[in-house]
Amino acid sequence: MSLDTSSRTFPQQVRVARTDANLQQALGKLKFGLTAMRGAAVAKLPEFEQLRHDAAAIRDHTLNHLDHYLLRFEAAVKAHGGHVHFAPDAAAANAIILEICRSVDARKVTKGKSMVTEEIELNAHLEAHGITCLETDLGEYIVQLRKERPSHIVAPAIHVLKEQVAETFAAHHGAAPPGGRGEAAALMAEARSVIRRHFLEADVGITGANFAIAETGTTVIVTNEGNGDLTQSLPKVHIAVTGIEKIVPTLEDASTLIRLLSRSATGQEASVYNTFSTGPRRPEDPDGPEAFHVVLVDNGRSRMLGSVFQDMLRCIRCGACLNHCPVYGQVGGQAYGSVYPGPMGAVLTPSLAGIEAAGHLPNASTFCGACEAVCPVRIPLPKLMRHWREREFDAGLSPRGARFGLALWSFAARRPRLYRLVSRVGASVLALIGGRRGYLAKLPLGRGWTAWRDLPAPAGETFQAAYRRRRRTGAD
């Protein structure tokens, strides 16, 4: 399949995450930071719901005519002197990018933040062929130094405390700069001074693209640090790598989506940099790359078109579903074992990596619906997770214990007389065991419940039994 994950061992990773005090402290900040900022930004924009409606319509229209808009985009990029490459899978994308790097004898590549290059594991591929890759987004840089995967699609190092960043910088940069390493601002300044010289040395700059505009052949990056702009304008070659679904028809459409993206992601009315790249440097331009390439990666996405999972391709990667997800809030991104964690990852990861590899992710949800409630393009995430559970069940991949329990329940629930008998007996037995305290601390086969909780004992007589009895005796 198209995406490498360690999602099979999700339960073990959950245990690690729950006992990691640093991670838990970092996650505690998430709950009140990004969600509150989004809430405030949404409250200030009366037309936010209308924008969500419009954005979903734009994305649906594009996906329903994706072939058309991909070809229009390609033609427009070419008309401006750029190149478009279609990569059917991760290996093809990596090969295309390596080839472009080799064509200019590249030794060093700087990178802006790009989840698709994380998905295809581009850095490892280039490094294996002797090309140094340097992440220039602060969060990505921290994660790269720590040899970790991003834990959040917008804030890659949100799981790392600033004290840990100081330790990481000490290990890699040596002696502390004059400003010390106590404050976040000092750490940022230190990273900037280290990274800046690499911009000047890099032969190729690789960025993602939040959107690719078909009518103009433009790629767009929405950022806050300015590193993406330096990445794509200083080196001789700019490669923008993105998924085939990131196409939007027009500049107007892109601006509608950007209004939603920044507010949904970070609660900003607008991100600091919204940079539009159209073709390589023209003779009259003061700066810019000599060559402009766009690599459009499929890697399993076209399989989703026309399927029940097509709505997932509307995603604009704002991360709001992660920020509002109570499960993500307890375990962080790395437990998911995929570069796409949280609710969006619970749908997208099985789509790209297969349900056999990622079955835990769509199951690890209470279907509370907080994700769908905040999604700027109204993706019905719980419904799509349920579709994955259905695929898993139909393929016989659900755990045997769960299937057995479900079969027993279903057998009884389909037979009202049997069901009444079983529940009548069960309720009185449990009431008896519960005794005066009214709670059971242990249950046969019930460890999942009783590891954390007691079981409130039933009253003893089921409602149905009591109701029939009262009607017979005329009571109540």
Partner: protein, 250 residues
């Protein structure tokens, strides 16, 4: 106008664990002028199957509920979660199913208890509330809140009945029950219910009230394990003037 014929969907959890929520629901509906019946053949709405990917079981149970509640003007349950499930029956059966139209009809006339009382009947005058001492805090169950828009209705009824509410922070955050989720991922579920317990404690209320027994059992179970003396009540029990279950037992 003749009295509304209301079928009460008791829900499997109320039937098994807390029958008095069912009796309190009947009292409330009758006080609001409804003719309430409880079909005997109802078992479960099918949500465990549907959410576990077992469409076949969910369909079988959906058809059972559709048949059991044919002929009522309205179907009411003391649960946002189960009514949320009934509203999904058209999707459970699928458009090509011969009973799809029946599923659509049921989905259109089924209601969560407090929203039925307030939105459909315009009922305000609650019975004598039994909330024990002090104000309560209200936990919004996810399905009721986000699928059915139940938020103000229970608060309106509680206020009318003279019950004070101290809102907790994160009242709309999931308690971690999630049906089979709580036994499949106990560490995550346990951490979520711990956060909920902390929110309840910060509210200062001595009683937590909600409209879904799934949430309530989960919260009560964790409170019991931690030995915390906070009472856990279904909104129907409070409004219907039913004594606390623990007091009944002792």
């Amino acid at each position: 106008m003749s009295r509304r014929r209301v079928g009460l969907l008791v829900t499997c959890l109320v039937d098994f664990f807390r029958p008095q929520v069912g009796f309190a629901s009947i009292r409330l509906l009758e006080a609001a002028g409804c003719d309430v019946r409880v079909p005997e053949v109802q078992t479960c709405c099918g949500q465990p199957g549907w959410n576990s990917g077992d469409r076949g079981s969910a369909q079988a149970l959906a058809l059972g509920i559709i048949d059991a509640f044919a002929g009522f003007d309205a179907v009411v349950a003391p649960s946002g979660s189960c009514i949320g499930m009934l509203r999904q029956y058209p999707a459970v059966l699928g458009e090509s199913h011969p009973r799809h139209a029946d599923a659509v009809a049921l989905a259109g006339r089924c209601h969560e208890l407090t929203s039925f009382l307030v939105d459909e009947l315009g009922y305000r005058a609650g019975l004598k509330a039994e909330s024990g001492d002090g104000p309560v805090t209200y936990h919004d169950g996810c399905s009721g809140l986000r699928e059915l828009g139940v938020r103000d209705q229970p608060r309106t009824l509680l206020a009318e009945a003279g019950v004070g509410i101290c809102e907790m922070d994160g009242a709309t955050v999931c308690c971690g029950f999630g049906g089979t989720f709580c036994v499949k991922y106990p560490e995550i579920s346990g951490a979520m219910v711990d956060d909920k317990v902390a929110s309840i404690e910060r509210s200062g209320a001595s009683t937590v009230v909600a409209g879904d027994l799934g949430c309530l059992l989960n919260i009560e179970a964790r409170l019991a394990r931690l030995g915390k003396p906070i009472r856990v009540r279904h909104v129907a029990e409070v409004l219907g003037g039913v004594e606390d279950s623990a007091e009944q037992r002792s």
